[in-house]
Symmetry: C2
Subunit: 337 residues, 2 copies
DNA sequence: AAATGAAATGTAAACGTTTACATAAAATAG
DNA sequence: CTATTTTATGTAAACGTTTACATTTCATTT
């Protein structure tokens, strides 16, 4: 027996319109009719077809999530935050990665254009201007993660990478280090840029000289951190402290230090960014910047839902920067309690 | 201008049936008509409505994925594998966690019943019999991950936890340890059970005595590993080597060892299970069991797609056990090269 | 008691596909 | 050149909702 809205209507002697009204809490309906329908629906385990509903009303109750890749705790945390919040709103989540080889844009367009979702959360830290066009053209609201400065006319939620970097480098300066190096992230990555700028600006503000040869580029991978550290410490003019733009590279730097027989932090201090699980396990514990990723996902979803159901104006641009926090380990020179 | 199949049909002077046939590669159609339609569709950037399609044909091109939680690399790896493979088949992924507080069953039923997906991959390592009922009743095919012995009449892909445990414990025995303890996982977790049985069986087979007081229960968390280790090493009769049922607990055990001033592996050897990122970073490097999680996800999706499009018989039960591999670190007593 | 308005319900037209069945056109057979 | 098959196309009925609009019912006002 196939059981649809017709069937419910027939069995409760009302029209399908009434059933629909009951199911959607829309329009007036006599309490006793409502109860009759509701109990019958429950009894027959009736679930309205999401597709019919979507076809007719263009609501899917589904949110699209596009991430650059599906690896690491980092992205899992984002998803976790989004999922938790989505659950509160009874939204479903359609998740996809950009599958790097393909063009980000292509993935996004396909996703957005398909009509499978009511809106999307997109993270694309290496963002071309092209993407803004796509988003602007999209009928469905979009929230961007970690991918734009507040200048742009979109909705975005970001980690305050700039301040985070300043904080941790300031901490190094407070320790008395004067020669501070950095292993940067990839140039085209906006987060990496902000972290570098924070590093640069605080140095200058505090009256330290910014030296090109103290800075080296990595790609956020462990090996690139290792390699970067070898380069930095192989020179004659060695920095006393290293700020790695993320924890993976910091851990790579640890490995290099170990190979070079350098003690952390006695011979060289190392700090990171992201506060990944491993950073709390290694010895000496890594001083790093905590990044509220789960919260980021939560807020993004929350705002997106607002745009979808009209609480927030989707046309209005909005930006939020979540602030980071310092996690003090011993790798900077602080003593453990 | 709203552009749908009607519009395409009108503009190319054919009926919507023909357009549909072209778009689905179904039924005969004259090559020149096909081309005309195809180019027009591309030109107008026409994408068929997935909802209308689903409504009419009950194909959604969407796969549901239900995981117990969305945390850790472990689950991310599963998703990654599933996503990669899904991408090959042009399937979309709808992901949800069981949100522990709610009943697993409830989540699953809702997911399955909604008709949003063509099938589902479900991971629920603490599996009640109840779930089999739900799956059997479901119209859509289901693949289970890590959640059942091959006795049951379903499709499942599993890690061979039993053999993995045997391997690594055998390795400890080969090192000459006679007093081997274990920090178990939660009793109701099927994977934890298998790992324990592997431990138990190999001990007995190799002629070592199985001693209750060498075994303690944890919950797969770091802290429980820490606590378990304290208990085990606090007794008068201390084991010489510890098999932690997963790496998190092994790392917890490391911390306990450090607090007790026990050297690994000189005073006590520790091995784990799962091969998480951190296990390769810590010192001494953790000897553990590599678990092909990404591959597990890939295979599960592949098989599910087969069931969906009829290549595999959904009614037939099928089981695959992916084998694990030993990752040798120094925590077992092996020397680094 | 009639007039008015509000509340409850019903009718039917979308929404955009797929697909069984019918028909027309073209190719093949006799 | 007609009969027959094959290939190409069209028609129309699902699929299961939502919702504007129409209608009925009922309570309130005069």
């Amino acid at each position: 027996m196939k059981i649809n809205i017709q069937e419910i209507a027939r069995r409760s002697n009302v029209s399908i319109a009434t059933v629909s009204r009951v199911l959607n809490n829309k329009g007036p309906v006599k309490p006793e009719t409502r109860n009759k329908i509701l109990t019958l629906a429950k009894q027959l385990n009736y679930k309205p077809s999401p597709h019919a509903r979507a076809l007719s009303s263009r609501r899917t109750d589904t949110i699209g999530v596009i991430l650059p890749e599906l690896v690491d705790e980092y992205f899992m945390d984002i998803i976790q935050g989004i999922d938790e919040e989505a659950h509160l709103f009874n939204k479903y989540l359609m998740i996809s990665s950009s599958h790097s080889q393909r063009n980000d844009i292509e993935t996004i367009m396909e996703f957005m254009g398909s009509g499978r979702t009511d809106g999307a959360i997109i993270m694309a830290p290496s963002l071309h201007d092209e993407i803004y066009e796509v988003i602007k053209k999209s009928k469905r609201p979009v929230v961007l993660l970690n991918c734009c400065s507040s200048k742009t006319n979109v909705v975005s939620f970001n980690i305050d990478n700039y301040r985070g970097a300043r904080q941790i480098v300031a901490h190094l300066i407070d320790h008395g280090y004067r020669k501070i190096g950095m292993i940067k992230g990839p140039d085209r990555n906006i987060e990496a840029q902000a972290r570098f700028e924070g590093f640069h600006d605080i140095l200058v503000e505090r009256g330290l000289e910014y030296k090109e040869n103290y800075v080296i580029s990595g790609d956020f991978s462990l090996t690139s951190g290792n390699y970067g550290m070898l380069r930095l410490m192989g020179s004659d003019d060695k920095p006393q402290a290293i700020f790695a733009a993320n924890d993976y590279m910091a851990i790579g730097a640890y490995q290099a230090a170990r190979n070079l027989n350098l003690k952390i932090p006695e011979d060289v201090a190392i700090v990171g960014f992201d506060d990944i699980f491993t950073s709390r396990i290694i010895h000496p514990r890594l001083t790093t910047v905590h990044v509220p990723v789960v919260e980021l996902g939560r807020r993004a979803l929350n705002y997106l839902v607002g745009m979808i159901d009209g609480t927030k104006d989707p046309a209005e641009s909005y930006h939020e920067e979540l602030s980071t926090g310092l996690v003090i380990g011993e790798s900077c020179g602080c003593k453990s309690k």
